[in-house]
């Protein structure tokens, strides 16, 4: 359960947007829209714990009954996917995926999970491949797999489809939400394109707060 309650981000005493309230259970998708500079990316940064200290946020921000503000980035179990896949270029597919896995797994378990993940993504046999030899679509899929393998409690999607061409985009979009749903976790999607938003999503629009608020 992810909760935002009367949530706001402030910069130099002024709020970036009107207070937000939302509650996400597993499989829920929250779509956030808003013009450039309205604070969408800042919001995601705060949730994953890399908020620039010049900002500060108020209101409840909890994930599975834990106050996220008490936790450092790596303790939050919040995964993020950007429009760039940000796969580590010095590691092969296997090592990229293994990076997300919890530590302390036996080699067999690790191999098995990665094998399964690749198989589901239709990328069987890709484990030893160099990242640079993959197509854009393949890379995007690996990036999502990497995030999912880290078993996050919440996943953030920062315009993850905007760099893909139209045909690939529709395909990949369906695939992403399918996989997130399988993990039984909520997700937050930031996007410019209404077509990216799956049906049944909650929606929030960030609006500049009136000056007198």
């Amino acid at each position: 359960m992810f909760i935002l309650d009367q949530y706001q981000i402030h910069l130099q005493g002024a709020a970036l947007f009107a207070p937000l309230t939302a509650q996400l259970s597993s499989r829920d998708v929250l779509a956030i829209q808003g013009p450039s500079g309205s604070g969408k990316s800042t919001l995601l940064a705060d949730i994953c714990g890399v908020l620039n200290p010049v900002f500060f946020s108020t209101g409840a921000l909890t994930l599975n009954d834990r106050n996220l503000r008490d936790l450092s980035v790596d303790q939050r179990n919040v995964g993020i996917l950007f429009q760039d896949d940000l796969l580590f270029p010095h590691l092969n597919v296997y090592d990229n995926l293994a990076f997300g896995l919890p530590s302390g797994l036996s080699r067999d378990v690790r191999d098995q999970r990665i094998h399964n993940a690749l198989e589901e993504a239709g990328l069987t046999g890709f484990a030893p491949r160099d990242i640079a030899t993959l197509s854009g679509g393949q890379r995007s899929r690996i990036a999502l797999l990497r995030t999912l393998l880290s078993e996050p409690d919440l996943i953030l999607l920062d315009e993850p489809f905007s760099k893909l061409d139209q045909q690939l985009r529709t395909q990949f979009r369906g695939w992403v939400f399918e996989h997130i749903a399988e993990q039984n976790i909520p997700s937050i999607l930031v996007t410019h394109d209404p077509a990216d938003i799956p049906e049944g999503s909650q929606r929030l629009t960030l609006n500049k707060e009136p000056a007198n608020a």
Binding site: V50, F56, T58, L61, H90, F99
Partner: protein, 580 residues
Amino acid sequence: MTSSLSLRRPTSLWSAILAIIPWLTAALFLLPIIVGLLGTWLPAFGYFPALNEHSLSLTPWRQWLAYPGVNSSTVKTLISGLGASFLALAMLLLILIGLYPSRLFQKIEKALSPVLSVPHAAFAIGLGFLIAPSGWLLRLVHEATGWVARPPVWSLFQDPYGFSLAVTLALKELPFLLFMSLAVLPSLKVHRTLWLMRGMGYSRRATWLWMLWPQLYRQIRLPFFAVVAYSLTVVDLALIAGPTTPPTLSVLITRLFNDPDLSLRTVGAAGATALFLGVLLILWALRIVEKPLAWWRNRTLRRGRQITRHTCPERPIAILLVSITGLLYLLGLVVTTLWSLTLRWRYPDWLPESTSLRAWSRITGRIEDPLWCTLQLAGLASLIAIVLVILALENEVRLKQMNRPVNTRRVLWLLYLPLVVPQVAFIFGFQVSLIGLRWDGTFPALLWSHLVFVLPYVFLTLSGPYRRFDERYAWVARTLSSGPFTAYWRVKFPMLLRPILYAVATGFAVSIAQYLPTLFVGAGRFSTLTTEAVAMATGSDRRMMAVMALWQQSLPLVMFALATLIPALYFRNRREMMQN
């Protein structure tokens, strides 16, 4: 509501450590320079207790201004120093206009590190072997044509005005400027700009001159200033390739410091101070003159497209330039190697009359101690420097996240002071204070003095690529449940491995090149490859000199080779890591 407000500082101790690093670094490295400068300024104003001079006066300055040849020495210094700097800059621009981006340029990039690793003095000696009137090139001419049976009496090398010094310096500084540009060029989006501007009717040359060059210059200003300061104050190279009666200022000052007449020390101190002020003045002027130039450029650009289209003669000229430079480096190495294997060799023979391995076996028999000392010094200095530089740059990342990048930049500027202050202007004063502390002749003090010069170059080399790193990689690593250190070691460090190793190699080469600090701070207790090479160079035996020069060159060369090979091997199956 306020209860939920919590500014988390999970790594506050780490932040605190990072925060003091730039200050610590700056203090550690400014101290010797400031103390050293004071130790030079006091004698410059007549205070020199060791010679029973206790009162302040302007006499040393008057003596300096009246010293024979100071005026003409100043002119020669300006010709060679500024001439070299602008020549190097012009060659850089020409090569970029003609060849960037192109496949040939990528080849040049690859050849850059061996060229960079050649010590200045070794390059000048090699060049002298080549182009002196009895040099190898004329011997080849004689071999081919029978002409010039005796060495002609021309002043091809070491001319009285400093032109050959300017050219030698420029050829040595060009690779450095080229290397520093490499870090900046990707961010200029040259290919796209050229494309765009061609559509608007601007030629390649015009686009470079009016659009790209000003941006590039702003980013390589600091290394360029280092080149200017270095060229105006270089000693070893000026001794080999420079004029003699009078020589350039730095040589003249060194001579005064070394004169048996001890009272000339104060005159030398005044000269060193004057040279230091002169360098500052010139750098200041170069900074100031940018403004009217920018204004003029903008005015021209505002008038719109009147720049003519034409074909680009820069390309063949640039190719010629690169080939000649490369050839000079290569032939210099070849002729040095030949000398190292020589027993007898006279003009006009183009190959030694008789050869021998004697020079090699004599030197190799006693190279072990200096080699070991050099490796320890250079290895430790470059390692300490790389750690400090990485910490300082990480602190920048931290400050940038806090929107406060200004302070750190200003502090780090000070790091570059050793590049701008002539060595002759502070090394003697530094030595005095170390002796006062009884630290002279100790390894830590020597290491410290090397760090003063190694650190700025390591910073200069690494900061570009480091600042361009996409921090989101580190964030992603952290959201994948890894702590900050794991994220650094497993993601950021390996991704930056190539520039980091390159910076280490640069630091290594800089440490190896240090002569004066090794001699003075080390109180003669430590002999390195360079002190041995310089000792040999004061003699007449070219064979020994050549062997020492080759030894001295080989270490940086090995380091640069490792810095290229390790990542290449490690990432041989990672195509994205092979680019750039």
